[in-house]
């Protein structure tokens, strides 16, 4: 082994060590003030149509049966609590679930978009994760894009008859990963590299967040599977109420 190689190994080890110690506390919420004004406005505008669709959907359900309101409020609070809990991790760092993958699988993307918006506002107010000006960008990546991917994947895979646990894992995992990619795209668009432009900045952002986000996505997928198993075992009736087990899936 040459001296250069030794140096490289030491450097990589220390880099990995550093990433392992750094607490990954909701690292994917774009913080307040990090985006220029134009991008805050653009992402906010992109969210509007999705949110209007979600709102109309929720509004119709509530008008039909006012009890849905209570159900929505409780599930919203549940998603918030889930996302503020410290999840178990190998390195003892402090990380959180997004909980939106589970929301999309259980309640569909329309409801999740509205609940996600409210959860993001509360996260900004109560936990200082994310912010008001970056609400549009965060809302798009966490409450719209991620859940949409989870939902579509879940529907597709359940048609092909894949094992349910695998299906839930893949949906939650992919949703989380997609959220991370969208956030990286948003950051790279707002802060492109002066030499390499957008593409180069995107690669840098993806690389910088990968060591924390990919393990996190795996853990999120595993936890979602455990949660869904628990719900299937103990809460058949409640799940029927929220429309999860509509199509008689007790196979």
């Amino acid at each position: 082994m040459t001296k250069k190689q030794k140096k490289l190994i030491v450097f990589i080890t220390s880099l990995c060590g550093m990433f392992a110690i750094v607490p990954a506390a909701n690292a994917m919420h774009i913080m307040e003030g990090f985006l220029p004004v134009s991008y805050c406005v653009i992402w906010g505008l992109i969210c509007v149509p999705f949110l209007v669709i979600g709102f109309m959907h929720v509004d119709k359900q509530v008008k039909e049966n006012r009890q849905t309101m209570m159900l929505l409020a409780l599930t919203g609070a549940f998603v918030f609590v889930l996302s503020s809990l410290k999840i178990p991790s190998v390195t003892g760092s402090c990380s959180h679930m997004t909980g939106t993958g589970l929301g999309a699988i259980l309640f569909g993307p329309c409801v999740t978009s509205i609940l996600g918006l409210i959860v993001l506002i509360f996260q900004a107010i109560l936990l200082a994760h994310g912010g008001v000006t970056t609400l549009g960008a965060n809302c798009f990546s966490m409450a719209i894009a991620g859940p949409l991917v989870s939902f579509v994947l879940y529907q597709l895979l359940s048609k092909t008859g894949v094992n349910r646990k695998v299906n839930v894992f893949v949906a939650a995992f992919a949703g989380d990963l997609f959220t991370y990619c969208v956030t990286s795209v948003q950051l790279a668009m707002a802060h492109p590299s002066p030499t390499g432009g957008f593409g180069y900045a995107l690669i840098k952002y993806l690389g910088v967040f990968a060591p924390t986000q990919i393990p996190l996505a795996v853990i999120e997928g595993l936890l979602t599977v455990v949660i869904v198993i628990g719900l299937e075992t103990y809460a058949q009736d409640e799940l029927k109420k929220v429309g999860f087990l509509k199509k008689g899936v007790q196979n």
């Binding site: 140096k7 607490p23 990954a24 506390a25 690292a27 994917m28 919420h29 774009i30 913080m31 307040e32 003030g33 990090f34 004004v37 709102f55 929720v58 509004d59 509530v62 006012r66 009890q67 309101m69 209570m70 159900l71 409020a73 409780l74 599930t75 919203g76 609070a77 549940f78 918030f80 609590v81 410290k86 999840i87 178990p88 509205i114 918006l117 409210i118 509360f122 900004a124 107010i125 109560l126 936990l127 912010g131 008001v132 000006t133 802060h191 590299s193 030499t195 840098k204 952002y205 910088v208 924390t212 936890l223 979602t224 455990v226 198993i229 628990g230 719900l231 103990y234 809460a235 409640e238």
Partner: protein
Amino acid sequence: MERIVQILLITAAVLMIIQGFLHRRKHEKDHSHSSFGHKHDGSVFSIDFYAYASRLRTWSPKYKAVFSMVCLLCCIICDNIYVSCAVILLMAYITVVMGGLPFRRYLSLMTIPLVFLFFGCVAIAIGFSGSPSGDFNLHLGFFYVYTSKESLWETLELITKALGAVSSMYMLTLSTPASEIIAVLRGIHMPKLLVELMNMIYRYIFLLMDTQCRMKNAAVSRLGYCDFKTSCVSFGQIASNLLVVSLKKGNAYYHALEARCYDGELRFLEEEKTVSAMQTAGALLSVSLLLCIWRLTV
């Protein structure tokens, strides 16, 4: 002109630190100071707690919301390092000295977004290439890690801008309980359904958190968190159980509300808080000060 602004900002910072020290000495006996850094255990909702304890609670929530949003926008739109520093100082003064929040707690709250800031800025400040192309280069065998003075300066500007924005947001959230912020949102005609949902969710968060805490204690005391695999299973079971319990409770809550004539709208008694002339003058003065700094250093 830039020189003068620099000197003024530094003087303001020094004065504030001195006043902070004097203040602390006065109160030293009543407080036990915890160590530096933000701890998540047990203090998940520390912001909510401080909002209720703040001396600025008597101020009108609308006034605080407008003022903090204007400062936040100043910070982002001006995109100027001096304005950002001025906002950081001003908001720290309002929150800590006028609001009575312990300075150490303020610092530890400021560390929450630090992780994101670190990662976000590393990606901006550092570049990789095959040849040494920046002002500072680090040779790593196959490639160079480099950074230049401009990109470092740009990163510094971004950090101050983001911290300024965060501190103006803290001014609002550390002095205004969430229920009052929701009332402000109702005031700007956010859809009724959303406001209603927010009010309910805000209440249920604390109920669920309490239930979760008890479930977790029960699991921990039965070795449910002894290793990684077990803790994953316990965490998942607690979460699913939490959803089951909360859905079951939903019915009971609904009947309780129905019995009290719930017609789709919760109405809360809101305290009337007026804005004094002094406060208006203060806000106008600070905003014009920020604009002055911006004009002087552009």
